[in-house]
């Protein structure tokens, strides 16, 4: 237990239940709308949470991007992801299996932030948001 690859895949698997989105366990060159998984850029991993390497805390980030930022429909689509229930809820999808198919002991969706326009490599922008997820694994 305690593999970042397994954690990525587990989160992506849970998120794949959300209809109408391209879901990836890794950052990709996406076709919008898309959801991907990455380690948090601020604090990625806390080792030594208990003695004898008994617990590691992984700080993961799930990011979602939708289309034209001036399109009300895109905003509504993103808003559906922010709900705490429903088939499009990122929170509900991630916590539908808090063991990620055996990849972790438990997890918690800590919050959602960063609801704003993101620059894309081609110079366009996409509306997006990000969720911070705390994943606990044992030795």
């Amino acid at each position: 237990m305690g593999s970042i690859a397994a954690i990525r895949q587990g989160l992506a698997s849970n998120l794949s239940s959300i209809p109408g989105f391209q879901v990836s366990a890794y950052i990709i060159n996406p076709t919008l709308p898309t959801i991907w998984v990455r380690p948090s850029p601020e604090t990625s991993i806390d080792y030594h949470r208990t003695m004898h390497n008994g617990e590691t805390d992984w700080h993961m980030q799930v990011q979602a991007f939708v289309g034209d930022t001036t399109d009300i429909g895109a905003q509504k689509k993103l808003d559906e992801l922010l709900e705490n229930t429903g088939e499009s809820s990122v929170f509900a999808a991630i916590e539908s299996d808090r063991t990620l198919g055996g990849a972790c002991d438990d997890l918690k969706v800590e919050g959602c932030s960063g609801y704003h326009e993101y620059a894309r490599p081609d110079g366009s922008t996409a509306l997006g948001a990000e969720w911070s997820v705390l994943v606990l694994t044992g030795s």
Binding site: H48, R49, T50, M51, H52, N53, G54, E55, K108, E110, L136, G138, S139
Partner: protein, 136 residues
């Protein structure tokens, strides 16, 4: 001389190794402070009284078989069980001494914590006698 960052302390309770669930460990040797001040003294006079050691462990709670709750719950009301603590999981030595005591547990909280927090469980083991240090 070698300083130590505590990452691998060994904690065994009733012969069950619970190290992987241990968040913090604290052993304290305590003597009663007996006031033996007499008339004419210009300052307090202290004397060592009886020793009263404690071992305090903070566990991450786990209800799986062989884990924290399965080990500690049966010890509620037990009149004496062994607790062994070492700085690391390596063999006992002069640089890795063992601290052993036969203990009782006056209090156990099977569940505690606030919403969203990891479920932790602080337990104070009360040695019946004194903690004994070993180097072999």
């Amino acid at each position: 001389m070698s300083k130590l960052i505590l990452t691998d302390a060994s904690v065994t309770v009733n012969s069950v190794n619970l190290s992987a669930w241990v968040d913090s460990v604290e052993l304290t040797y305590t003597y009663d402070d007996v006031d033996v001040t007499t008339m004419g003294a210009t300052a307090k006079q202290h004397s060592l009284g009886l020793r009263d050691d404690t071992i305090t462990i903070n566990f991450v709670q786990d209800y799986a078989a062989g884990a924290v709750h399965a080990t500690l719950h049966p010890l509620v009301g037990n009149t004496g069980f062994s607790v062994v603590v070492k700085p690391t999981s390596q063999a006992t030595s002069t640089t890795n001494p063992s601290f052993t005591a036969t203990c009782v547990m006056f209090e156990y909280q099977p569940l505690s914590g606030s919403v969203g927090d990891r479920s932790d469980n602080s337990v104070t083991f009360q040695p019946i006698g004194a903690i004994v240090m070993g180097t072999t």
